[in-house]
Every structure is written in C-alpha cells, then in structure tokens.
Amino acid sequence: MTRSIKIKRTAFSSISAVVVLAASQGAFAHTRLETATVPEATRVHNALNVSHGCADPTGALAGEGALKNQPTRGTTVVFPNAISYLPIIGVDSTSDGKGTAKVYTPNKADAYYTPLAGIGQLIHTGGPWDYTNIKVDALKNKDGFWAGGAPYDQTISTYVQVAFYSAAVTIAPTSCARSVTFELAVADICDLTAKSPNIGDAQALFWSPIPNFEGVPGQPFGAGVGDPARANNPVPVGPKFSNYDGWSNGDKVGMGAATAKAGDGWNSPATLKVTRDLVKNPLPASCTGNAGKGDDVYIYPSAEQINKELPVWSNPDQTGSNYWK
C-alpha cells in the first residue's frame, strides 16, 4: 500500500515537473517559422508558430522568469518587399554563417534574389483563428497576412499555428550569395484595444527586425535608455527603427518612457533562410566571401513598410476598418 502511494506520488511529481518544464520552455520560446530554412527554387508549405502569450498585465511577474500567459488573440506578419519599398540589406562575408558581421549594401535586392515580393502567402485552411486576410502593396503583391479571433488559453504555453506558403525564391546566379535570409516583422497581439505607442509586452509581443549593423543609415537603433541588466543582449542607446520595435517597461505601458527597455522580441525576428543549390546554381569562381564558401545576405523590411503594413486592416491594401495599430 505504502509502496503504491509512493510510486503514485513520484509519478505525479514527475508529471508536474514535465508540465513546469514544458511551460518554461514555452514561456521562453519565440514566434518562429515551422520551416525556417528552405532550399532555393522550392515552394514550401510552411507555418508561423506563435509559441506563447503576452506578459502578465499586472506586472507582478516582470522579468525573465515571467510566464507569458495572456491569451493571444491574433498575429500580423510582414515579409520584406523589394518592389514597392527599399529593404535594408546586409552582407556577411566573414562570420561564416553567424550573422555577426553584416555590412550594409546599397545594392538592390534583385542583385541577390527573385522574386522581390510574395515571399510569404497565407493559406486559408480554416485553422486556428476565424478571421484572416492577406496584406498587399500598392501593386497588389502579397506582403504578408494577419489572423485573429478567439483568444487561446496560454496559462500553459501552447503553440498557435498559421499556415502559409513560402515562395520559391531563386538566388541570383551572378551573385556570391550562398544564402538569403528574410527577416520578418511580426506582432502577436493580446490586447486589441491598446494602440501604438502605448503597447508593452502585456499588450503585444513584437518580434522585430532591427538592422543594427555597420553602415545602416541611422543605426544603432534601440531603446531610449539602454538596459544594462540585459548584459547578454545589449540594447544600444539610439532612436527607434520602426513604430513597432517593441519597447516595454515590463508590464503595462511602454515606448518612450525613461525606463523603457527592449521588449521580449526586440531584434528577435522570425526568419526565413533560403539556401543556394550549389550544384544547379554554383557560385561564380570570383566569390571570396567566407573563405570562398559564399556570402550570407540578410534582407530587412524597411521601416516604411513595417509602419504601413504591420497594422491590421479589414482590406489587404491597408484600407477599410482598422482593427489594430
């Protein structure tokens, strides 16, 4: 009898530990793509995974240990568009894939890849939110999508997934790019009533691409006051990049306050990396980046595109009723 009770208690404790661990992993996971690396010239049935909710709005659980347990009501996603906007492009020729040595280039995007828009295209599959729509530029090229509706209980972090196709991107044969990485702008929204700039981590999580690398005009971008506590992710003092960088003072209101610090997803965007087919599309012989293995190219949406297209509108072309901004 005693042994049976002891076994049951041990089993229960183990289960509890797993649940806590899962919740912790979920709380610290980020919104990312299901398939983050794809080969060139291949359309992929992909998905955006929202991994957890927003911060506790009471602020009682501020800090890195906070469980992100407020229900997510929707997400909005923008992929870089190089037809109607000028994305910011960084080329890394020396860090061998780490992305730590990007250098700004004024070269146009078509020097590195095509197509120049339509990188992510929503699939209407009937899951998980009732309301969805695409986002388009002025020429009706697809730039992203939004999905929203019922709030999902995130007391224990649970993935919410939105399906889309990532485009068959071709890396320019004449370029030295061995990879092209698209940096997505994403906002996971928990409070539809909160409007920019009064949005903190309790209202929305911004997984924001911040082009803080050599040569980018205006960089370094960052919070109004750097947070020395984030020693492993230093936030340089500087201006905002877009209206949706994601600043938070940890609970309710963010952006611009003297105590502002980078939000949970600041400069932690979801990415889509396209790798070159070195057999069918070999590097030119003159390429020297990364000891001849090729350059890694990074495409950031412009601030103009993020500011215009990340908000949620009833129509794809940013007209009609505004649901979130």
Partner: protein, 149 residues
C-alpha cells in the same frame, strides 16, 4: 459583431478580385488597362517552380486586347529570361480571341513579362501565363507586378 466583420472581409476580397492585374485574379491570368501614352508598359515577374508536377521547362504566354479595334493600335506581350526573349501580338482587337501562344524555354526561376502597344490610346487587356514542364504539364506559377502604367 462577428458577422459584420466577416461580411466586411468578404466584400473587400470581392472588390480586390475585380481590380485587374492582380496576383489573386483567375489563376494564371490577369487583366488591366494600358494607359493612353504610346509608351505605356506594364511589367510583371512570373516565378516558375516545381509544385510537385515537376520542374518548369518553359513559360507560355498569350495576350488578348479586349478594346474596340483602332487601326494601327495593337497590343503586344513579351517574356524575357536569361538573355532570351519572345513576343506575341493580338492581331485583331476586341474579337474575343487572344494572340497565338508563345513559349520561352528558361526552366525554373523568374521570367519578366511585359505588355505594351503600338500607338496612343487606352487598351483593356488580359494576359495568360503558364509554367509547364518538358511534358507540357502545368507546374508552379506565381506572379508579382512590378509596374503599371
């Protein structure tokens, strides 16, 4: 509230579908109006890829001029890839028939397609474009619009 939101979404989509040279009109066709200037040119990028039916071998194009005929005013369409180019012309405007098809063999990747005309005057046109395998099986075809004039 939910029904109102849903109705708005459906209505917006319908309006967008009727707007013309758009990647979400009928699959692999698109229409627009070329501006009055003789030099007016519309430009788009068509991406051919293997959607499971096999790698693309070529792009097929055709154009139909839906406007009333005007002597000396015809609509052309070109496709360009890898230093190769082809052209088609709708020989009779407004007869409900498109130009002959033209093929540009360029495999997977991005083709540029353009539409222009031979003289001043507005022209309503519709293009069709299909990426096909070497066995003439339809395969992955996507479009992005680059220029509308």
């Amino acid at each position: 509230m939910k029904n109102t939101v849903l109705k708005k979404i459906l209505l917006s989509t319908a309006i967008l579908l009727s707007a013309g040279f758009s990647s979400i009109t009928l699959a692999h066709s698109g229409g627009a109006t070329l501006g009055a200037d003789a030099s007016a040119t519309d430009l788009a990028s068509v991406t051919c890829y293997d959607d499971g039916n096999g790698p693309a071998d070529h792009l097929l194009i055709a154009v139909e001029d839906g406007s009333a005929p005007i002597p000396g005013l015809l609509v052309n369409m070109q496709a360009f890839k890898d230093n190769k180019m082809t052209n088609v012309t709708d020989p009779v405007s407004g007869d409900g028939n498109s130009s002959p098809e033209a093929m540009l063999r360029g495999g997977n990747g991005d083709y540029r397609i353009s539409v222009n005309k031979t003289n001043t005057g507005l022209r309503d046109f519709e293009v069709t474009f299909h990426c096909e395998t070497s066995n003439n099986i339809h395969t992955g075809t996507d479009i992005n619009v680059l220029q509308v004039q």
